[in-house]
Symmetry: C2
Subunit: 295 residues, 2 copies
DNA sequence: CGGCGACTTGAATACTATCAACGTCGGTGG
DNA sequence: CCACCGACGTTGATAGTATTCAAGTCGCCG
C-alpha cells in the first residue's frame, strides 16, 4: 500500500553517537528519493551477495544512505548498537583500541561489506569504523532488519551465513598472524586486496592503497618500518612495483605462496629468475619449498 | 552448603552450581534412550547462556548427546555441515590446517561453548574440532534448529548474538596476537582460562591445563619452547606455580596487566617484591607502566 | 617557505625461533 | 620387574627476524 520508510535518525553525517534511541519512521517527504539516497531490500541483498527474498512489490522498505567524509567515524567503541551498515562505496578501517590507547586495525571494509556486526552481542559496539575515503553507507536499522527476517526466512539464513563467513575470515586471519613471516603477511595482504578489488570489477593487479603503512602494519601485526622495508624488497626483486601508495602486482602466484625471501645477497629480479634457474636448479623455488624450516 | 541443584525447574539461572564431580546431566534432567542422553531445548539454552523461549510443553524437541573419547574428532575440515554442537562436558581444541599440514589452534572450547559455526557459511566446515579429553557433546541438527528459530524469534536473536560474541572474541584474539609480547600472551592465556573455569564454577586460580605446550604455542603464535620458558619464568618469580600441567595463579592482577618481564637479573619473587619496593620505589611496577616503549 | 605527516633507509638492539641435549612420565613388551 | 620407547616438557646456546631508534626525503597544505 504505502511505502514504509525506516531510518535511524536523520543525522546527515554527524558521525559519532546518534543520540536518538529508536528508529524513527520519517513522516515527511523523506522518501522522495533524490538520486541514490535510498535503497530497497533487493539492492541491499545484491550488495551483500545474498539472495534477495521474493519481494512483495508493494510495501517496499527503503534504507537510507548516509555519506561520511574521510576521517569520520561510522560508529565508535561503546556506542549503542542500533543499526548495521553496508558499504556502498568508499574505503574504511575498523579498529580496536587497547587499554593503552593504541589502535589495532581489524579489517579494511569496502563496497559490499557489512559493518557493525560486533554490536549485536551486547548492544554496544566493540570496535570502531573509520572512513579512509569519502564513503556512501547504507543504514540497516537492526530492528527493521530483524522484523524483515521474521518475514523472510531466507534473510535470517543469509544473515547467519554472513556472520559465519566473517568468522571464518577472522579465523584465517588468526592463522596468518601467528604462523607467517612478515614478508608472507605483506604478500598475502596485497594479493587479498587485489582479489577483493577484482571482485568489485576493478583491477586486481594495479591499485592504490588507501591506508598508511602504519595501518597496514597494525593490521598485520608489524611495525610500519617493516612493512615499508618489505614493500621495498618486493619492489627490488620485481615481485611488485610500488611508488608510495600506487601498487602493481607483477607475480601474483609467487606472492600467494611466498613464505620468506631469500637472503638479500642471493636475490635477483623475477625477470632474471627464469633464465637464471633454467638448467641449473640451484636455487630453490622460494616460496614453494623453503618452508622446511617451519616444519 | 547443600549442592542439591535441579536445573529442571523454573529459573534460567546458572547451572554453574553443579560444580562438584563431573558436570554430567544427572538422571532427572536428561532423558535416557537407547543408552544415550537427550536434552530438551531449555537445557540447551541454559548451557549456552541464552534465554530459553517459553516452551510449548507438548511437542518437546530432544537433542541427542554423543560421547567422544580423547583424540576423536567431532568434525573435520571439509566435512559437510549438518549440525551444530554444544559442549556439555569435556575439553576440546579447534584447529585449522594450513597448506603445509601445520596445525593452527583457534580455540579451546569447553562446557557451554558452541561448535561448528564455521560450517554455516558454505555448508562445509572450515576447521576441525578435536576432543582433548573425553567429551559429552549435544547435537543440534541445523535444520531442526533453524525450524525452531522460525517459531521462536528469541532463538534466532540469541543465535545471532552468540555468533556476534564469537566474532568479538576472535577480534580481541587478533589484537592480542599482533600487539602483545610472548610473556603477555601467556599471561593473558592463563587468566582467560582461569576466568572461564570460574564461570563454570571451578577454581579460577588453580586448574590444570588440558593441552600440550605445543598447542598453547600454536594458539598464541609462539613456539612450545617459548611457552615453556615463559611459564618457568613466571614460576620463578612467583607469579604462578607450575608443575607440568598443574597451574596455580598467584597474582592474577599482575598477570592481567603484564606487558613484559623485567630483565632476568633484575627479577625477584613476588614475595620479596613488596618488601623490596617499600620505601624505595626504585623499580617501576612492571606490567603497569613499562609500556612506554610501545608508544 | 615552513612545517607536518607519511614514507624510506640504516644501524643497533632485543626478542623469539631454531637446534640440540636431556629429563620425566606412562605404557608396552620382553 | 625392568628396559625401552614415544610423547611431552625443560633448558641452554645460537641464529635470525623484527623492532627500535635515528636520520633524512618527499609531498602537501597553511
Amino acid at each position: 500500500m504505502t511505502t514504509a520508510v525506516f531510518n535511524t535518525s536523520t543525522t546527515s553525517q554527524s558521525s559519532v553517537a546518534t543520540k536518538s534511541a529508536f528508529p524513527v519512521i520519517s513522516g515527511e517527504a523523506g522518501w522522495r528519493c533524490h538520486g541514490n539516497l535510498w535503497s530497497n531490500l533487493r539492492e541491499v541483498c545484491d550488495l551483500l551477495h545474498i539472495p534477495a527474498p521474493a519481494a512483495s512489490a508493494e510495501e517496499e522498505v527503503l534504507f537510507q544512505h548516509v555519506r561520511f567524509k574521510a576521517g569520520q567515524r561510522v560508529h565508535t567503541i561503546g556506542q549503542d548498537f542500533e543499526t548495521l551498515y553496508i558499504v556502498n562505496s568508499g574505503f574504511l578501517k575498523t579498529v580496536l583500541i587497547d587499554e593503552y590507547g593504541n589502535e589495532q586495525v581489524l579489517s579494511f571494509p569496502m563496497k559490499g561489506d557489512l559493518l557493525g556486526i560486533d554490536g549485536i552481542h551486547n548492544q554496544h559496539h566493540a570496535s570502531e569504523a573509520v572512513a579512509l575515503s569519502d564513503c556512501d553507507i547504507i543504514l540497516l536499522p537492526y530492528k527493521t532488519f530483524s522484523a524483515l527476517g521474521r518475514i523472510y526466512a531466507e534473510l535470517e539464513q543469509a544473515m547467519l551465513s554472513v556472520l559465519s563467513r566473517e568468522l571464518v575470515r577472522e579465523q584465517s586471519m588468526i592463522g596468518m598472524l601467528s604462523a607467517l613471516s612478515a614478508e608472507a603477511k605483506v604478500a598475502r595482504f596485497l594479493t587479498n586486496l587485489g582479489e577483493r578489488f577484482s571482485l568489485l570489477g576493478y583491477s586486481g593487479k594495479t591499485f592504490n592503497l588507501r591506508m598508511t603503512r602504519h595501518e597496514i602494519g597494525s593490521y598485520l601485526g608489524l611495525t610500519l618500518e617493516t612493512v615499508s622495508r618489505t614493500l621495498s624488497a618486493f619492489n627490488e626483486i620485481g615481485l611488485i612495483s610500488v611508488d608510495q601508495r600506487q601498487i602493481a602486482l607483477n607475480d601474483i602466484p609467487a606472492l600467494k605462496t611466498l613464505r620468506r625471501l631469500p637472503p638479500a645477497k642471493a636475490r635477483m629480479k623475477v625477470s632474471e629468475k627464469v633464465s637464471a634457474l633454467v638448467g641449473k636448479s640451484l636455487l630453490p623455488q622460494w616460496g614453494q619449498d623453503i618452508s622446511v624450516a617451519l616444519n
